[in-house]
């Protein structure tokens, strides 16, 4: 029974994920697009939960869907209508090529999945309940992946500088 419930949740989450993904790509207005992405990220968080990644699911919602997307929405709002751009346009050849390329990528990956399905995708490892818990993640971050952790912080710092450099208006221009 629990099994069935999981399936249902999975279907809902996966469906939401894909639908919102399609929406992100296809919607004309960046504002709606960003909103759709929030939906996408949230549904992903559900999938993460199903995959025993509780901490990640939380982080996904808090950091991603929360902080990042809010920033995004601010920018969209700041830019206003000018941010609008039509869905299509440009050389038609390009459009076709884009679709073909994306489809090819997709087909290939799915084919690879199909190839590998028989190997062992059906029997995942047994994991303890604490798998993916904040405690374990934290411990790993401070031991095995200490370096990754530190670097992540540096990357964020760099992004901050970037925001400052790119976002500030030069004094000369303000005078104009």
């Amino acid at each position: 029974m629990g099994n069935f419930l999981v399936w249902v949740i999975w279907f809902l989450a996966a469906g939401g994920c894909l639908a919102s993904g399609v929406a992100v790509v296809s919607v004309t207005n960046p504002f709606y697009s960003a909103l759709a992405l929030i939906g996408n990220l949230a549904s992903l968080a559900v999938l993460y939960l199903l995959l025993a990644a509780e901490f990640l699911a939380a982080a996904q919602v808090l950091v991603y869907a929360g902080a990042v997307m809010v920033m995004f929405l601010f920018v969209v709002a700041y830019l206003g209508g000018r941010a609008d751009a039509p869905w299509a346009g440009g050389p038609p050849l390009l459009r076709t090529a884009a679709v073909v390329a994306a489809a090819a990528l997709l087909v290939e990956i799915v084919a690879v999945l199909g190839l590998a399905w028989g190997d062992n995708l059906q029997d995942p490892a047994e994991v303890a309940d604490s798998f993916g818990s904040p405690a374990q993640i934290g411990e790993l971050f401070l031991t095995d992946h200490l370096l990754a952790f530190e670097i992540t912080s540096i990357v964020l710092l760099v992004a901050a500088i970037g925001g400052v450099v790119l976002g500030t208006t030069p004094e000369k221009e303000l005078e104009e």
């Binding site: 999981v6 996966a14 790509v25 960003a34 990644a53 999945l113 399905w117 995708l121 964020l156």
Partner: protein, 102 residues
């Protein structure tokens, strides 16, 4: 494990990757292109987490977490750029940003 095989998760990830890629390749608004990139990155994250579950190894989750931070950083810079462009009254259309070519 309850629910669907890991493979199904991977298929979802693959589809997301494809959708994201399509977005990058199709859309002309840099904002939406950025969003599409996020979808691609998240597809990768999903793959990581699925495999982490499959292998029973937390490394994938850690990786995914770092990637989130990196993706956030990338978005920050991307948005900064877009704002700078907008301020210089450059059309927010990647097709028009083609002064450099040949």
């Amino acid at each position: 494990m309850d629910g669907p095989d890991i493979g199904w998760y991977l298929i979802v990830a693959a589809l997301m990757f494809g959708i994201g890629a399509l977005g990058v390749m199709m859309r002309r608004s840099p904002l939406i292109v950025l969003l599409s990139l996020e979808i691609m990155i998240n597809a990768a994250n999903l793959t990581f987490i699925a495999f982490a579950r499959q292998q029973g190894d937390l490394g994938g989750q850690i990786f995914a977490l770092s990637v989130m931070a990196v993706a956030a950083a990338e978005v920050a810079i991307g948005l900064g750029l877009i704002v700078a462009m907008a301020r210089r009254r450059i059309a927010l259309d990647v097709d028009q940003a083609s002064a450099l070519r040949g």
